[in-house]
Symmetry: C2
Subunit: 268 residues, 2 copies
């Protein structure tokens, strides 16, 4: 509701837990600065965020003081601060799932020679928390920390397929299915059918739905109680793709996610 005039994608402030409304605002501002590819100055922030000047000014000042954002060299614009890098790098190193999965996805990369991603759900998307490049060094427009859509990626669809059916259905209903390529599934029913198929098959498939010229297979990682907690994907450039290879790769992914899920269950 009530978006400002020219403002693009500003996520609505969610304030379920009472007593945290103010904090949500701070995070919304931080996220807005993180999301914007071009540097923002204060004027632009007032345009894309629904807060009055005084409020926003105070929030920005606090974020600066905490080191979460910093002033750029181009004066008057803001970028993320080093405090955030410090926190993120520690998060990266101490992540349970990532450390458990490391050996397994490395084996998968070595066995296939293709790029492997490890992703976890975050907000309304998936975030890559690890990536191993194909030794054949085909560039992909991903990096660790990238947030991708649930509906257009194999990791997203693998995660959805791992959820209880009603929960999955509910999430799909709430989605805004923006086409990312000409193959992106933009119809909710078609997507739901695709997820059902993924669940039945035991893997998900992205046929150039997120990025042109790249096909992916995905597998779901479950915790001990069979809640999906992440996903692994294998990305194959179409020119290297063929049916027999695909079949072998799918099996390897399934082994990989099974092994990761098992490790998680036994560790606790």
């Amino acid at each position: 509701m009530s978006k400002t005039t020219s403002g693009p994608r500003v996520q609505p402030v969610r304030a379920q837990i009472q007593g945290t409304a103010s904090f949500s605002k701070f995070m919304t501002v931080l996220q807005a600065i993180a999301d914007e590819p071009t540097r923002l100055d204060f004027a632009k922030l007032t345009k894309i965020l629904p807060y009055p000047r005084g409020t926003l000014y105070r929030i920005v000042t606090a974020l600066l003081a905490e080191g979460l954002i910093a002033e750029s060299l181009e004066n008057g614009t803001y970028q993320l601060g080093h405090r955030l890098i410090q926190l993120a790098s520690r998060s990266w190193e101490t992540s349970d799932l990532r450390s458990i999965a490391r050996d397994h996805i490395e084996a998968l990369r070595d066995a296939t020679g293709e790029t492997v991603h490890l992703a976890v759900p975050s907000g309304n998307g998936m975030v890559y928390i690890d990536k191993l490049e194909s030794p054949r060094t085909v560039r992909m427009t991903s990096r660790i920390g990238t947030r991708v859509e649930l509906y257009s990626t194999s990791v997203g669809k693998a995660y959805l397929a791992g959820l209880p059916e009603e929960e999955c259905r509910a999430i799909i209903e709430g989605m805004d299915l923006k086409p990312r390529t000409r193959n992106t599934i933009t119809d909710a029913d078609a997507l739901y059918a695709d997820i059902q198929k993924s669940r039945a098959q035991g893997y998900s498939y992205d046929n150039e739905e997120n990025e042109a010229d790249i096909r992916c297979f995905g597998g779901t990682i479950f915790d001990r109680s069979r809640r999906p907690v992440g996903a692994v994907s294998l990305s194959i450039p179409i020119y290297r793709y063929n049916k027999e290879l695909a079949k072998a790769y799918v099996e390897k992914i399934q082994e990989t996610v099974q092994a990761i899920s098992d490790s998680m269950a036994t560790i606790v």
Copy 2:
């Protein structure tokens, strides 16, 4: 004032800007979780933080909801969340200093064959924002995002040497000089003398003061107005160290930081 009984190092909440007190508390809790090497459960958090249960519970719940922290596999304990990785991923690529410095420190690494760090001031220390390993793959206990002390590292001392004398002196007065190795300078006057020498020489030197068996040289990066904004260091294992080499390395560092400072001045 009023710390809880057994609580160790909890940074005092600074609330200079009015209207941000609550946010400071949230950040203090997040930092406490980040700082503790062993996973914390709720009970331990109540012990090391000066907030009452209800308050802390609400803060932790909000941090969980925002994805800044997550529950570990060991039940009931918390770790940093993946949202942090997602937030920082863009900053990583857009950091001005890092992108400007990249080529220069790469050249330094290639010329010397030793490990190079790029650091910026953050809080009361320096944070590594880039690192290039020696091709000889000598392990070092550093990583990007690590925060190191001003007084025991070459990057820290290089930064201090770049500050105006009074400012430098004031910072040193406020320091708690904890020994990190047997060589760490723990006397404020001795440290000040060392910084003076560094300033005169045009480089800083860490003689196993931060880490045993590692010697470092550091150089200061200045912005256009000659404020120090960062530092570059070269780390040399003692068994590879010798006087002639050192002399050549120092010159190369000085060239490197000069080149980076020049680039920054021309770009803005």
